[in-house]
């Protein structure tokens, strides 16, 4: 009796897991199917029907060219690279002085960063827009870059947590050798922080790659489109060509999928660390 009950529980457990996995996968997989169908095939088959030709990439070519996706990827790449490099530097510097020096105002500084996390980004856009305008940054790549740099508190947290695990005696022995604080930061702390840097790069990178409203509001110029806004443009004009939209969706997803498979281990850690506190 006991084993029977145990087995039943195990079966139910696996059924629920498979159902959960199907629920997570089906919406994406059907989009993938549709992206490989011809227009006539799409019109005559249901979403669950497999495509006839698994190598029909015509929709991908069309979406890539019509949607000017290459430009979207280029702009995204530029913004991601500059923002991440900047956020890593400023975040680690901030964390370094906050974790290593006790100075007057350090608590207040920490509090200021903390308080800022409470302000939901979307709410202040109305006013932020005026600031970007006043700085003459509207419709430039610097608008999103500065905003991604400016609001980064999670990075400071992740770095500070990690800095706690780096022994201060390392700093002290470097000081005995006459190293300056800059040298300590640049030669000792920063290299040791590399696991945390990977985490920050992933968390930031995912956020920036997926962000929609910042580029949408601040860079409406079509030459500045990023992946999100390029994808959004398919709405409307392609209403009757869902197979092309589906290819565009896949084009936006594939980089995420590759990054996920390659960096899985770090991603799990990164999100757990970045979001708990």
């Amino acid at each position: 009796m006991h084993t029977f009950k145990y087995n039943l529980a195990a079966v139910l457990k696996y059924i629920s897991l498979v159902l959960g996995a199907l629920m997570a996968l089906i919406p994406i997989v059907v989009v993938f199917f549709a992206s490989l169908k011809t227009n006539a095939e799409y019109a005559s088959t249901g979403p669950l029907t497999l495509p006839e030709n698994w190598l029909n990439f015509a929709n991908y070519t069309k979406a890539f060219v019509d949607g000017n996706m290459l430009l979207g990827f280029m702009n995204t790449l530029i913004i991601v690279l500059i923002s991440i490099a900047g956020a890593t530097l400023t975040g680690s510097m901030m964390a370094y002085i906050l974790a290593r020096f006790k100075f007057r105002g350090s608590k207040a500084l920490m509090g200021a960063f903390l308080l800022a996390t409470l302000i939901p980004g979307v709410t202040t856009q109305v006013a932020t827009f005026q600031i970007i305008n006043a700085l003459d940054l509207f419709n430039t790549r610097w608008a999103p870059i500065l905003m991604y740099l400016g609001t980064d508190i999670i990075a400071v947290y992740i770095f500070m947590q990690f800095l706690d695990s780096i022994s201060e005696s390392l700093d002290e022995s470097a000081m005995l050798d006459g190293a300056s604080y800059w040298t300590i930061y640049w030669r000792i702390i920063l290299p040791l922080l590399s696991p945390a840097i990977v985490t920050v790069i992933i968390v930031k990178g995912v956020n920036i790659y997926n962000d929609f409203y910042t580029p949408f509001l601040y860079m409406p110029k079509s030459s500045l489109q990023v992946v999100s806004t390029a994808l959004f443009k398919f709405k409307g004009p392609y209403g009757s060509q869902w197979e092309v939209i589906c290819a565009a969706i896949m084009i936006a997803i594939i980089p995420t999928l590759i990054a996920f498979v390659a960096l899985q281990k770090y991603i799990y850690n990164g999100f757990a660390q970045g979001s708990v506190k």
Binding site: A24, V126, F212, A272
Partner: protein
């Protein structure tokens, strides 16, 4: 410029604290605090965002929002997302619990359940447009299961639209809760489980008396974040419906009022209210968690 290593450590310290905090602090002030300050200022004006002079009109904007039903009605939409969060957290907790014990193909299930969270918001909007289309995925699946009678126009029926959109939101964010819970559960020492097994505890007892108490704080935090999350919903409805058919959320309305209708003063007042709710909820959370300790 003098060489850094020639300076005394005391002076170096002052210099490095100043230099290292300069850029982050300037950015913080410009893009976090200045906007909030400006927002309060605008909220008392009838400014349209363009004209040179701002006319101060006192609390008129706030009065408009609280008295005109079309401005206040959007909060009802938030309720759908708020309740959806409970579904989302329930599922996340369930999957996190079973996947923290021995399961075949554990990493595959973990990966698959978590992956949607990483996807582009616009892509998710499109994926679910496709999912809810009249001849779309959901209706086809229902047909296949012999449940054809349940077929609906998910995004055209005003009674279903917000449920459908909230479902998409659950799909998107469940993985995030899941991974956080999984992290929290995995930090519980295995000796506690072993001890409880010796005492004859089954999985349910372990869940009820070990797992739940250990992750209580994170659970509470997530519950309270659900409130601000529900009010801050923007991307999914904006991409999928543009806020039509009664699916407009508070943020969509704020953005529209500000940028479509150029009523910056009014939009700022809306944003101030939104900020007020979020701050209130956060204070509440702090108090609740303090009492727990």
């Amino acid at each position: 410029m003098p060489k850094l290593s020639n300076m005394s450590y005391k002076n170096q310290r002052i210099l490095i604290i100043f230099l290292f905090s300069l850029v982050p602090v300037v950015l913080l002030l410009t893009f976090s605090y200045l906007p909030v300050f400006k927002m309060f200022q605008y909220s008392f004006t009838s400014w349209n965002g363009l004209s040179k002079n701002m006319e101060y009109i006192g609390f008129d904007n706030y009065k408009t929002i609280f008295t005109k039903p079309e401005y206040f009605a959007v909060f009802k939409v938030s309720l759908y997302y708020f309740f959806a969060t409970f579904v989302q957290m329930g599922l996340a907790l369930y999957f996190a619990t079973i996947l923290s014990f021995n399961v075949r193909m554990k990493n595959w299930f973990k990966g698959i359940l978590f992956f949607p969270t990483l996807l582009n918001g616009v892509a998710i909007g499109f994926i679910f447009l496709f999912f809810f289309k009249p001849e779309g995925t959901l209706n086809t699946i229902l047909d296949l299961l012999g449940l054809g009678v349940l077929q609906q126009k998910w995004l055209l029926n005003p009674q279903l639209i917000n449920i459908s959109l909230a479902f998409a939101s659950v799909w998107r964010y469940m993985g995030m809760n899941f991974i956080i819970f999984l992290g929290a559960i995995s930090s519980i020492g295995s000796d506690i489980y072993e001890a409880s097994e010796i005492d004859g505890a089954n999985r349910w007892h372990q869940f009820r008396h070990i797992i739940i108490p250990s992750i209580k704080r994170i659970l509470q935090l997530n519950l309270i974040l659900a409130v601000s999350g529900a009010i801050g919903v923007f991307e999914i409805p904006y991409v999928m419906t543009g806020g039509s058919n009664g699916s407009g959320t508070f943020v969509i309305q704020t953005v529209d009022v500000a940028f479509k209708y150029s009523k910056l003063g009014l939009a700022s007042a809306m944003a101030v209210i939104l900020l007020g709710i979020v701050v209130l909820v956060t204070i509440l959370q702090r108090i609740l968690i303090k009492e727990e300790k």
